[in-house]
């Protein structure tokens, strides 16, 4: 449902994506791994038009992604995003964060949106935090609210941009647990992550990106257990055994 073909993107003189071709099928969980600065996050940000791209084409369900076209709103309501730094709206409660999109973008009825919003907060284990403001929540709780906010749009896919990188280590598990449940329920997910355990256990496929190109891709377990390319081997060795 998400297709990228020969996508190029430069920031000024620095080319961060040098021809990315990939696709994500419906119901698939794809993890993108690679060193920082390799262009992982940029790929996600291009898919929902937060970033423009210079060459090639990205399409979602056959609809071309063009951040300057009105159709970008359709794409963004179909492909939600979860950010590294949560980006919850601090002036609104957890529940208000979740129902913001349904109420003001999709114009659902208030009663319906609130009911579903509460159900979503319960789904991520935060039913009792509905009226809390984001600054009163831990990082892990904030990220789970952000996932509920993404789900509230009833998206066909969710993009996760390093969703656990800003969390204290003991809070990572809660967030990954919620994501694993989503994957089990058949949600299409593209996850940029450094959590190799999650990638191995939950992802269908893993893309290893370095220097703006896909160096290696394949079934998660195969790629992570027996990487073929020396750069993948080197990266995984350093991530898995930092000492």
């Amino acid at each position: 449902m998400i297709e990228l073909s020969d996508v190029h993107k430069s920031f000024g003189k620095v080319e961060v994506l040098k021809g990315i071709t990939a696709s994500v099928q419906k119901g698939e969980v794809v993890c993108i791994i690679g060193p920082s600065g390799s262009g992982k996050s940029t790929i996600l940000r291009c898919i929902n038009g937060l970033e423009s791209y210079d060459r090639g084409e990205i399409s979602v369900e056959g609809l071309k992604v063009d951040r300057d076209a009105p159709s970008i709103v359709d794409i963004r309501t179909q492909v939600s995003m979860v950010f590294q730094r949560f980006n919850l709206f601090p002036h609104r409660t957890a529940l208000e964060n979740v129902v913001e999109g349904p109420l003001y973008v999709k114009r659902e009825s208030r009663a319906h949106a609130l009911e579903r919003g509460r159900a979503l907060l319960a789904q991520v284990g935060l039913a009792e935090k509905a009226d809390a403001h984001p600054p009163q929540l831990s990082g892990g709780q904030q990220q789970r609210v952000a996932i509920a906010r993404a789900l509230a749009m009833q998206p066909k896919a969710i993009l996760f941009d390093e969703p656990t990188s800003a969390l204290d280590p003991e809070l990572v598990g809660d967030v990954l647990g919620v994501m694993r449940k989503l994957a089990d329920d058949g949600m299409t997910m593209v996850v940029v992550t450094h959590e190799m355990g999650f990638a191995r256990d939950v992802a269908d496929r893993v893309l290893f990106i370095d220097g703006g190109v896909i160096v290696e891709q394949g079934p998660a377990k195969a790629l992570l257990n027996q990487p073929q390319h020396p750069r993948t081997q080197d990266f995984l060795r350093r991530v898995l055994h930092p000492l």
Binding site: N48, G49, L50, V73, D74, R76, T77, S80, M81, F83, R85, N87, L88, F89, P90, H91, E100, G101, Y104, V105, K106, P135, A146, R149, A150, M153
Partner: protein, 217 residues
């Protein structure tokens, strides 16, 4: 001192007429400058080059002209162009326009202080520019903008005295009229100063309240 109190009792009612006009001019021009300032600021951050350049040059033109000259222009020159304004109208319009430039820069700073991640989060749930402004950026910017906004209110209260130059009989002009007909300069202008101060103090307290609240989060 005794003489001052006797004068105060005598002049107070007349000066209160001036106070009423001072308040009308201040509130009128405050509202106008707020609305105009918001419009300029929105144009500045719209991302549309023509609009933002137009707004930037408007702000610079307004900033570059002294308030008093703006007032003279509106009151004395506009009739030549076929637009006759009452002194009060010209005062509110002039002060409102003059201060809209400062309001605009204040609002813009508040808007630009909002974390970019907030805007991206809004976009990622399908919000357009206006919805993002209305639901996400402006409610957060208000908190940042309020303390300097309070300071502008105080400055506008005091600068409303410039309306006296185009015959608006607000507090400063009332004082001057009484002083020049009674020669009791000391009593009259002390009284006038105290009355401005009395009006400023609630505003100063309000700014302090805003600052405390802004510092909380």
């Amino acid at each position: 001192m005794k003489g001052f109190w006797r004068d105060a009792v005598e002049f107070f009612p007349i000066l209160m007429n001036g106070v009423a006009l001072t308040i009308v001019v201040t509130i009128g021009s405050l509202l106008l400058s707020t609305v105009l300032g918001l419009v300029w600021a929105m144009m500045r951050v719209s991302g549309i080059k023509a609009l933002s350049m137009l707004s930037a040059s408007l702000i610079n033109v307004i900033r570059g002209i002294p308030i008093i000259v703006l007032l003279f222009y509106l009151y004395f020159v506009m009739p030549d162009l076929g637009v006759t304004l009452s002194a009060l109208q010209a005062a509110i319009l002039g002060l409102g326009i003059a201060y809209s430039a400062y309001q605009a820069e204040n609002f813009r700073a508040g808007i630009e202080a909002i974390d970019k991640g907030q805007i991206e989060a809004a976009q990622s749930i399908g919000m357009g520019w206006w919805l993002t402004m209305r639901r996400v950026v402006l409610p957060q910017a208000v908190r940042i903008v309020l303390p300097p906004y309070g300071n502008v209110m105080i400055m506008m209260l005091k600068d409303s005295s410039q309306a006296s130059t185009i015959t608006v009989a607000e507090l400063a002009l009332q004082g001057k009229l009484i002083a020049s007909s009674t020669f009791k300069n000391t009593s009259v202008f002390t009284l006038v100063a105290l009355m401005y101060l009395t009006m400023s103090i609630p505003l100063i307290l309000l700014v302090r309240h805003f600052e405390k609240r802004a510092g909380k989060r």
